[in-house]
Symmetry: C2
Subunit: 336 residues, 2 copies
């Protein structure tokens, strides 16, 4: 056996190198049977020296835990999922757990295949995540023999979910605009059939009071442009601030305002939602926006699945995590 030999070391190699029987080597490494301290320590040292790696599969069979969890997502571009998956993984990796990422593309057949593979592997738990809070899983998840946690998705009653607190996020945005003495605040947002849109709109309406006006459209820059064209074509008072449903809409709004000679932030302040940096840092001026703390959502979901995998109780319910306001230059307050 040379230094360059990369074949996997087995218990046979350990026994040979430590000059003990295989059963003694096994007992020493597993803390089973009767071996004296000196032998046990020596076998462990030899095992480490020769690069022996205990068989996790065999251990899993004994402990009935696979030390793996599955993450089902419908997000193919990864904008929301990858930051959350990184958060989940950060919590789990130190505990020796790994994450199977399964892209379902919202296809029930694919979702079922993934789910069956996960159950076959006896994962310790499943995390379901989606690109919107109110998207039902493409495969039944309520009667599984393993725990399920929902993140950026609201599970059925009695499930454990972690979602951004959209109401809090919308309030942060509006209160920021009010603190800068803006008084005619318009809300340009996404499709009304999104739960997050309705929640943010409600929080906006409550915070703004009379004079609230909400324009629903799609999630695109194009919609931001059209909304401005519409609002600035009509008569009457014009908004001095616009709270946008996402950063892409905000980018369209800012560009459309520039096109018609309205200054941001001097004439109109603009706030986005998402803090998707490829957009929010690139608008001119850079965008003040709401960050949904995706990585922290992942942390929380990871901690919950870890507890459940250990057999601990986790209180069911929807956990809403606070958002944060990221101040750049589109509202007039400084710091970049």
């Amino acid at each position: 056996m040379t230094d360059r030999d990369t074949r996997r070391r087995t218990i046979h190699d350990v026994a040979k190198a430590a000059r003990v029987s295989i059963s003694t080597a096994s007992n020493a490494l597993n803390g089973t049977g009767r071996t004296n301290v000196e032998t046990r320590e020596r076998v462990k040292r030899v095992a480490k020296d020769i690069g022996f790696r205990p068989n996790a599969l065999a251990r899993s069979l004994l402990t009935k835990r696979s030390h793996a969890i599955g993450m089902l997502t419908n997000d193919t571009y990864g904008r929301l999922t990858l930051p959350m998956a990184a958060g989940v993984s950060e919590v789990l990796v130190d505990q020796g757990l790994s994450v199977f990422l399964c892209a379902t593309n919202n296809d029930p057949r694919l979702a079922r295949l993934h789910l069956e593979a996960l159950l076959d592997r006896q994962v310790d738990g499943i995390i379901f995540t989606a690109t919107r809070l109110d998207l039902p899983p493409p495969v039944e998840l309520t009667k599984l023999p393993v725990p399920v946690v929902y993140v950026f998705a609201e599970g059925p009653p009695d499930s454990i979910s972690f979602v951004p607190d959209d109401i809090h996020g919308a309030r942060l945005a509006v209160e920021h605009l009010k603190s800068l003495s803006r008084s005619r605040i318009l809300h340009v947002t996404g499709p009304h059939d999104y739960l997050a849109v309705r929640r943010r709109a409600e929080a906006y309406r409550e915070s703004v009071g009379s004079g609230a006006e909400i324009l629903y459209g799609d999630w695109s820059e194009e919609w931001g442009h059209s909304a401005i064209d519409e609002v600035f074509a009509r008569k009457g008072p014009r908004p001095d601030a616009i709270f946008c449903g996402n950063d892409e809409i905000a980018r369209g709004v800012i560009e459309a305002l520039r096109d018609i000679g309205v200054r941001v932030p001097e004439d109109v302040a603009v706030v986005g939602f998402d803090n998707w940096e490829v957009i929010s840092k690139q608008t001119r001026p850079p965008l003040t926006t709401i960050d949904m703390q995706l990585k922290e959502l992942g942390h929380q979901a990871g901690l919950a699945i870890l507890e459940l995998a250990k057999g601990e109780e986790v209180a069911p319910g929807t956990n809403r995590l606070p958002c944060s306001l990221v101040v750049r230059q589109s509202c007039g307050s400084m710091t970049r």
Copy 2:
């Protein structure tokens, strides 16, 4: 046992329900020992009826294959990795293989933790991917006991790599501009220390010949703006086409041209690189660009790791996959 009982079914449950011994049930399900056809079929039917799921961990121990592969990435936003991971997964899921996604954040400690967890689980193979072709893995991958495939990353000599053919992509862009009778084609691209940048630049220079001019900067929209400010401030002939190193630079270029009253595509045609739709579909006009076929790269890497996991040979070397030209409106040719 009721319909609502979700606990995992064991071989004991199968034996009990089929009224056979445990060893008969096991033999029938595993095709081992001697059981008559009728009993075997009945046991299988009963197993299916009660929702028995063979233990993949136990099977893995027997076959020495875990039917899982690990994917190491440094990409936290997922823009490149998730489309590739979806491609890998599409190939593997039908074969019953799942993918562990491990975000290393380029941190050697984290990468080592992930790698050790993967080896502990005796994965059938490892796919390494990165956000640039020439990024060395944050952890040693050359002497592992399992096969390794590189995708969107060039491994060491004799490794198996799948990368986009940047030279082909750059040629597609320049030939498209030439076919539209553009004759003063400028190249505004990313940092010179990126292998992909140098390859694209070389292909551009070869295709354009005399009059080629390359401006290196960073990957941002801001750089696109500055490049235009610089080029249009100086005397002499101006470009009638700009081939950009990525879509973000192209977006900055298009906006800067609009700011100074130069029309796209009438006065200047613009081509991007990446086909990152959140950018390329949102520029005004929408961007003609080069698509690196990330999902297909994932397919190829998945097929290679599958062969290797089965013990088949795969020829070492770097496989360069063709790019494709996506025609939108920024060069004057039609179709959106």
